[in-house]
């Protein structure tokens, strides 16, 4: 009985997992590549959807609206980046400030706290309604294409001179500056790219679920981190190539939504998921630390020096 229900829910799990994986890849760029925890994404995860819905209901072509959503995310990243680099505000705080400001901005964009959009009236790219159909309109197909295109584009970009400069900035900013890299510029660029992807993911999500809500980004950063960390813990031994590491993030996101579904079927409410997500992330972050301490004591090297 439980298995049948789970199997029935599976297509939806895959679609959601794929949509959120684009967001998680955005988080990967800041958290793993730039070495910055960017909390802007909680706001951007609404902005992208809000911009998309408002434009499409206003008569825009959905593809053009997707581009606009991406740009809106980049603008949010630009604000955080400038608060951090030009104003000297610590990255975490800069992200929190932008996130807070975006709450008001998102309400202004939508005009209300929740904006619906119907797949019957507008030519949306994805919709939850078609998730069980064996047709081209199945959202899983479109989501796979978007995820693959994202990975492909990022694989190319981070192999270019500019992309290498962004990676060097995250790896060792001192070295980057000594090699003539303007680390302020590369940091802003990375934040813009990251938030652009988050907004793109948000635009897909808004279409998929048929609405954008001012609350829909709450806790997004933690979900993104969960996907990144699950992917890393499970696949870092086998996936060494950069494209495969991004694929690991996608798998992490899919696994997260599978666990999500299982927990819901076990009788917990979706509201409980924030607590569970936080616990998962805390646990996965703590385990390597505990492991380090444990092994440090066993080998007698530098015991107690971790504190």
């Amino acid at each position: 009985m439980f298995i049948t229900t789970l199997l029935n829910a599976l297509p939806g799990v895959v679609a959601q997992g794929l949509i959120w994986s684009i967001m998680a890849i955005g988080v990967y760029i800041t958290y793993k590549i730039l070495d910055v925890a960017d909390l802007t994404v909680d706001g951007t995860m609404c902005t992208g959807g809000a911009v998309f819905i408002v434009l499409v209901t206003g008569g825009w072509n959905p593809w053009a609206a997707m581009v606009a959503a991406f740009l809106s995310g980049m603008a949010a990243g630009l604000v955080t980046g400038l608060l951090h680099t030009a104003c000297g505000i610590p990255a975490i705080l800069a992200g929190i400030l932008t996130q807070l400001a975006l709450y008001s901005v998102n309400l202004r964009i939508m005009g209300q706290s929740n904006r619906p959009i119907s797949v019957d009236k507008y030519p949306l790219l994805v919709s939850a309604r078609n998730v069980r159909q064996a047709a081209l309109s199945n959202p899983i197909l479109v989501c796979v294409l978007f995820t693959a295109a994202t990975i492909g584009a990022l694989y190319w970009f981070f192999g270019t001179e500019q992309g290498c400069a962004v990676r060097a900035t995250g790896a060792n900013p001192n070295m980057a500056r000594a090699q003539g890299i303007n680390t302020n510029f590369t940091t802003v660029l990375g934040l813009m790219l990251s938030n652009g992807l988050v907004a793109l993911s948000a635009a897909l999500l808004a279409q998929y679920q048929g609405f954008a809500d001012v609350q829909s980004g709450r806790g997004a950063i933690v979900i993104g981190l969960a996907a990144v960390i699950i992917g890393e813990v499970l696949f870092s031994k086998v996936f060494r190539n950069f494209a495969l590491k991004l694929l690991a993030v996608v798998f992490g996101s899919l696994i997260y939504y599978l666990v999500y579904q299982v927990v819901i079927l076990l009788g917990l409410k979706s509201d409980d998921m924030k607590l569970i997500t936080a616990l998962i992330v805390a646990l996965f972050l703590a385990v390597p630390y505990w492991k380090g301490r444990y092994f440090a004591k066993r080998t007698g090297k530098g015991a107690g020096s971790h504190a």
Partner: protein
């Protein structure tokens, strides 16, 4: 080539931690000068290199490299002129990137970085050849992550990166101090070889007076944020450790030779 004029730099001014690191430092380097720099802790050696590279800004004075006034330029805009190797082997390389990627970053020092490929096939061959000079077996490990290398290997790699694109000025901040004696000797001989080959204008800080005497055509001693001893050419080649101690005493006005201050 390098012109430092009357530089002042004070850290934490107006607090109990106030530290006057440079006090009227002036120094002029000719093209091709290989200058070794000695001085006790707190004499201002590292601060001098950091204000040249732009890691710190100056309170007063001016800095020019090859006739260009760089006093107000940020660190990354001075990078086209300057190659640097730091004391800490971790500082000069990106641990999570491959050896060849690190070299490719260095090869583009001072160039506009666009959307061309970050590393080309022709470059790889060139890097393989260059790594052979170091004699550390790195030429077969181009795609290894730099984090896997030892401190000495990383320092040698940083040296190669600093000189990959011929800099107008090479700054070495006690770049062998954190290495074991054998590796330090290896890195130092590679340094000598590269500096000679490319006739690089070089400032090398060292804590080791014998190294300071053995290398370069000129030696300066800093004390209290100023140059107090400056020997070159013939005189430099005849210099002994005893001479240096005496010069230090004269300059500092102290009556006893405090080796500790110099050799610490």
């Amino acid at each position: 080539m390098l012109e430092l004029k009357n530089i002042y730099k004070t850290f934490n001014p107006g607090t109990v931690n106030e530290k006057r690191a440079l006090q009227g430092l002036s120094l002029s380097l000719a093209d091709g000068d290989f200058v070794t720099v000695i001085g006790g802790n707190g004499a201002g050696k590292s601060t001098m290199l950091n204000i040249i590279s732009g890691a710190y800004s100056v309170d007063e004075g001016s800095i020019s490299i090859g006739g260009v006034d760089v006093t107000r330029l940020p660190e990354y805009k001075r990078a086209p002129y300057i190659g640097r190797v730091f004391q800490d082997p971790m500082m000069g390389t990106a641990a999570t990137m491959q050896i060849e990627e690190n070299l490719a970053l260095a090869a583009r020092r001072g160039q506009r970085r666009g959307l061309r490929t970050g590393i080309s096939r022709a470059e790889r061959e060139q890097y393989r050849e260059l790594l052979k000079i170091l004699d550390l077996g790195l030429e077969d490990r181009l795609t290894s992550k730099v984090g896997l290398l030892s401190g000495g290997q990383r320092q040698a790699l940083t040296l190669l990166m600093a000189t990959l694109k011929k800099p107008q000025l090479l700054l070495l901040d006690e770049h062998t101090a954190a290495l074991d004696p054998k590796t330090a000797a290896k890195v130092l001989s590679a340094t000598e070889q590269i500096v000679r080959r490319d006739n690089l204008t070089t400032l090398m800080i060292t804590h080791n007076m014998r190294d300071a005497i053995a290398h370069g055509n000129r030696l300066i001693m800093l004390y209290d944020g100023r140059v107090v001893v400056d020997v070159r050419g013939e005189e430099k080649s005849r210099l002994t450790v005893e001479d240096l101690l005496e010069k230090f005493n004269q300059a500092s006005g102290s009556t006893e030779a405090d080796d500790k201050l110099l050799l610490s």
